[in-house]
């Protein structure tokens, strides 16, 4: 469904991605794991159109996806950014409404809103509060809810577990699995490799702008090299 081929991205003189390739099939959860600065966010931002690649291809259903961010959203590929990026200057409700920016029909916006509220009842309760007043976990839920407002086909998540308590992380990951069961395709970027791999159908391991290992989630968890480097030794 989504395919990245030989993607090269540079920032000024620095090459952040040295030609990476990956694939995402419909209905899968695929994760990209790797240490700080490996190029995970750069990959996800290229797919979202926030970074222009120097060379390589990004294809959605065999059509190029290298275009403006808003056109990518229109094609159903939506990102939940690193650090959540909740807008503190507007209310929780308005954050969600902004998520439905591309949806013109009021009725459809209402429908999306009901659906998101059913996933995250807390957001309905907090509707009138400023986005900045939420706790970290609630902000992550808002960030995911906001992305779901436009009814994406593919959800890209950049480190959703960042800075959250283990229990909240568990909740978020369970939710991602539920969303996936309902048909949402997910590309998950994580430093929390063990968690990510445990829910993934397929995974890529990145290191300084290259993919150094790939395989089915559970299999790659058992790879001794990956284990040593990313999973903090044996368990």
């Amino acid at each position: 469904m989504l395919e990245v081929k030989d993607l090269v991205v540079t920032y000024g003189g620095i090459t952040a991605l040295h030609g990476i390739s990956l694939k995402l099939q419909k209905g899968q959860i695929v994760s990209i794991v790797g240490a700080n600065g490996a190029g995970k966010s750069t990959t996800i931002n290229s797919i979202s159109g926030m970074v222009s690649p120097k060379s390589g291809k990004i294809l959605l259903d065999n059509e190029s996806l290298i275009t403006k961010p808003r056109k990518i959203v229109n094609r159903g590929v939506v990102q939940v950014p690193e650090g959540r990026r909740i807008f503190p200057s507007i209310s929780v409700y308005e954050n969600l409404i902004l998520g439905a920016y591309r949806i013109k029909s009021k009725k459809q916006t209402e429908k999306s809103l009901e659906k998101v509220y059913s996933w995250f009842p807390i957001l309905k309760e907090r509707g009138n509060q400023g986005g900045g007043t939420l706790s970290g976990g609630e902000q992550q839920m808002l960030a995911i809810g906001r992305a779901l407002m436009s009814e994406p086909k593919i959800l890209l998540l950049d480190e959703p577990s960042l800075g959250l308590a283990p229990l909240i992380v568990l909740e978020i990951f369970e939710l991602l699995q539920k969303l996936n069961n309902e048909g949402l395709t997910i590309l998950l970027v994580e430093q929390n490799a063990r968690k990510a791999l445990s829910i993934s159908d397929y995974a890529y391991v990145m290191e300084t702008g290259r993919i150094v290992a790939e395989g089915e989630g559970r299999l790659i968890m058992d790879d001794p090299v990956v284990k040593r480097a990313y999973l903090g030794g044996t368990e």
Binding site: G49, N74, R85, F87, E94, I97, R146, S150
Partner: protein, 294 residues
């Protein structure tokens, strides 16, 4: 001081303050989204004071249509400035001081050009309703001031509804805290920034028209925007509502002081009190303290 005197000055002050409020919002809305003090707002205001004169003397002499045309043109001039001048700076990710210095340069160019070309001439707006007055008991109010006040109220109300109730309005408010992320929601950030300039330009157009109509049109009329900037600062940068309240308070204070001690001392007193106010309460009325400024 008798009651009528005070009421009279409050009425005058509110209409004058309404103009400051419009300036404060036009200035503040750009500050919120791009974080720089946009002195080119004064340039648009100046150009519009002249345009308003031209339109009301040569095209339509009724106030409302002339005002609407001027305001819309003001919007387009501001968008043009944004695209020609500010967008290149933004794309190159220059520091905020570039925006600031450029906006002052734009203001100076407009001021000097108008001085050279038309500085020697008078541009009186048509009489319109200038001389008409209404009286409420002892109070005498010029109809033009009432009209200005009504228009200001309608414009500010309309803008509030736009910013609160429409997706574009929400996007403008969201972009003022984070200009990167809205694109992830499918927002066309360049368009949103142009739209913000359009709104600011409309406000500059209205203020230019009002000032041209009530004062004399000169190349330096844009400097009256300083009061709007002061209102924005007193109101608390980043809070449009605070700017409106501060603008109106400033207008009332100014009217009372002018009536009591005369026009020449007033600015000194006003600026001194602002100085003191900002020492005592640097966050302004609204209480938000913004760190990024230029």
């Amino acid at each position: 001081m008798n009651m009528d005197f005070i009421l009279q000055q409050i009425l005058n002050g509110v209409s004058l303050g309404g103009v400051y409020a419009l300036e404060a919002v036009g200035f503040g809305i750009i500050f919120n989204i791009l974080k720089f003090s946009n002195f080119s707002h004064g340039a648009v205001l100046t150009i519009c004071a002249y345009i308003g004169f031209f339109i009301s003397t040569h095209i339509v002499s009724q106030m409302i249509p002339a005002l609407v045309i001027t305001a819309v043109l003001g919007g387009f001039i501001a968008v043009l400035l944004e695209k020609l001048v500010f967008r290149p700076i933004r794309i190159k990710k220059r520091p905020l001081t570039y925006f600031f210095v450029t906006s002052i340069t734009v203001m100076m160019i407009v001021q000097k050009t108008f001085s050279a070309l038309w500085g020697r001439y008078y541009f009186p707006y048509p009489e319109m309703m200038k001389s008409a007055v209404t009286s409420f008991g002892e109070l005498v109010v010029s109809k033009i001031y009432l009209m200005m006040l009504a228009i200001t109220a309608i414009v500010l109300l309309g803008l509030t509804i736009f910013l609160k109730k429409t997706k574009m309005g929400i996007a403008i408010r969201a972009a003022s805290s984070d200009s990167w992320a809205p694109a992830l929601m499918g927002v066309d950030t360049d368009f949103i920034i142009s739209l913000t300039f359009f709104i600011a330009g409309i406000l500059a157009g209205i203020t230019g028209f009002f000032l041209g109509m009530t004062y004399t049109v000169t190349p330096f009329i844009g400097e009256l925007m300083l009061k709007g900037i002061i209102a924005a600062i007193i109101g608390g940068m980043g809070s449009l509502g605070g700017g409106v309240i501060a603008g109106i308070l400033l207008g009332i204070t100014e009217s009372i002081i002018v009536a009591k001690v005369g026009a020449s001392v007033t600015p000194i007193l006003i600026y001194l009190s602002i100085f003191v106010l900002l020492l005592v309460r640097p966050q302004g009325i609204s209480g938000k303290l913004y760190a990024v400024k230029a």
